[in-house]
Symmetry: C2
Subunit: 173 residues, 2 copies
């Protein structure tokens, strides 16, 4: 499948997030594409609740699947096309740390970090200038693609009574 | 198996790292224990090279296995004992970000971040005060347990001609 534009790629990630809510998962979707051809390489959904595993955020799942598909732990390896990670919400501290190791060349985000925080999700301790830090590693960052639609999926999760698990459950106050 | 002291727990993680080098893996080991009883819950080794997956650092593997074992994505959930993650080298930015989501209550490290950097491994963009940041999330941090021995495993990897892959291969200059 070919997804030519950033918006079409984000639409897919948002659809994955919405479907995941229906399957009792977290409201986050992602996908990895060949950056220039737009070919879909791997989808990702947040599988924390379904898998009993705090690690499997949507971005992590997409990275793991893409690396299996190309049989390389480095999506930036010589001979491979450039890859782009599209995520419905800006990455948490863990996913942000995973991005440089993955070899992707481009990150495209929908909802902002603060959109996730505003409904109670913890995004972790990220450097304020994280987009610049990725860019200094020659990973491009594009923000706010279909932000309102990506935010709406977060709200949909809350409205459906989804729990805020933050990777882990919140201690009761 | 019971590992009463921090040193005994670190010895196990160092042994895992050493064995992993012999199996063509990266020089990093980890393990999760019940913090107070010292019972081993899950080992972890860096499986990046063997699995074609940049995500599976030793700490991540230990967290994933421990959560499967207790069938909970939150090792800090009510009714569970406190869990401790022991790692031969201080966590990279990704693993650091994964720790608060995992629910562990204690982190014990061997080699320092700069010991890994000094042989060429990239640890990512971490806040300088990362131990304080974990502690402010009520996760205790203990450093320098068998640091020299943990450093020696890193050196052993280099001496054996191990590649510095940094999650991803370094671009050739």
């Amino acid at each position: 499948m070919i997804y030519p534009s950033a918006e079409e790629r984000m639409e897919l990630a948002i659809t994955l997030a919405g479907n995941n809510i229906k399957n009792n998962g977290g409201p986050f979707g992602a996908a990895i594409f060949e950056q220039y051809s737009g070919r879909l390489v791997a989808p990702g959904i947040n599988l924390v609740l379904q898998s009993n595993c705090s690690v499997v955020h949507a971005e992590i799942v997409a990275i793991m699947l893409a690396q299996q598909r190309v049989a390389n732990f480095d999506l930036g390896a010589e001979g491979l096309p450039d890859y782009e990670l599209v995520s419905t919400t800006e990455p948490c501290a863990m996913c942000l740390g995973a991005i440089p190791w993955s070899g992707i060349k481009s990150l495209v985000c929908g909802a902002r970090d603060e959109d996730a925080r505003s409904i109670g999700f913890d995004e972790g301790d990220k450097p304020d200038d994280w987009p610049q830090k990725l860019q200094s590693r020659t990973i491009s960052v594009t923000r706010d693609i279909l932000r309102d639609k990506a935010k709406a999926v977060l709200q949909q999760y809350i409205d459906a009574g989804g729990i805020i698990y933050n990777g882990r459950l919140q201690p009761t106050p």
